[in-house]
Symmetry: C2
Subunit: 120 residues, 2 copies
């Protein structure tokens, strides 16, 4: 598919897709036509973009996502790939704990706010 369709199906703008490609998060095959140089994307790229989106949403940097994508796909060294993935997984686990802490803090704050509210 061409970038327009990929954009539509992934929910990312054409610009963002090109930006991700330039940064090595995805890649396109060479154009099918001889007369243009339109990017051509396989269906797999759609799945990859979904992962990238999720990753971005939870705050994984472009640089780290590039490492991860490389680990998933083009890695010639599986044990290196494993390391990358394990490391990022651990990082996310830590992040989970941190968020839980903040949530607890907010819960405590809520209790106080409600107390201050009087007889509710």
């Amino acid at each position: 598919m061409k970038i327009g369709e990929l954009s539509e199906r992934s929910g990312l703008s054409r610009d963002t897709i090109r930006f991700y490609e330039k940064n090595g998060l995805i890649s396109s095959s060479a154009s099918q036509s001889e007369t243009n140089n339109y990017r051509q994307y396989s269906d797999d790229v759609l799945l990859q973009l979904r992962f990238v989106s999720s990753g971005r949403e939870v705050g994984i940097s472009i640089a780290d996502l590039r490492e991860l994508m490389k680990a998933f796909f083009a890695s010639c060294d599986p044990s290196e790939a494993e390391n990358v993935i394990v490391a990022k997984r651990a990082e996310l686990k830590t992040r989970l704990e941190q968020i839980e802490n903040v949530v607890s803090f907010l819960d405590a704050a809520l209790v106080k706010v409600r107390e201050g509210l009087g007889d509710t």
Copy 2:
């Protein structure tokens, strides 16, 4: 305490502390001396900074943190404060789910990578 001590105790740089203050995340009392205009911070600010740091680490924006700090402290309208906190809490809960999804994805990826590794 003065900014140097606060910096030391909070682990944030002086610049960052001034930046946070300028952005309304914390505030200092007027200087005690007549001859200087050094910021003077109460111990409470240290706690506030700890929360701000945690918040930043989990990706809460400066703008949102400002709202939260306002809700915790200077809010004259407790029900408004409650709304702010409840909303952010919900957002973090969503974030938790998203991260869990990404972790699951990484787990699945690990399985595949290890399969590819052969007889381990």
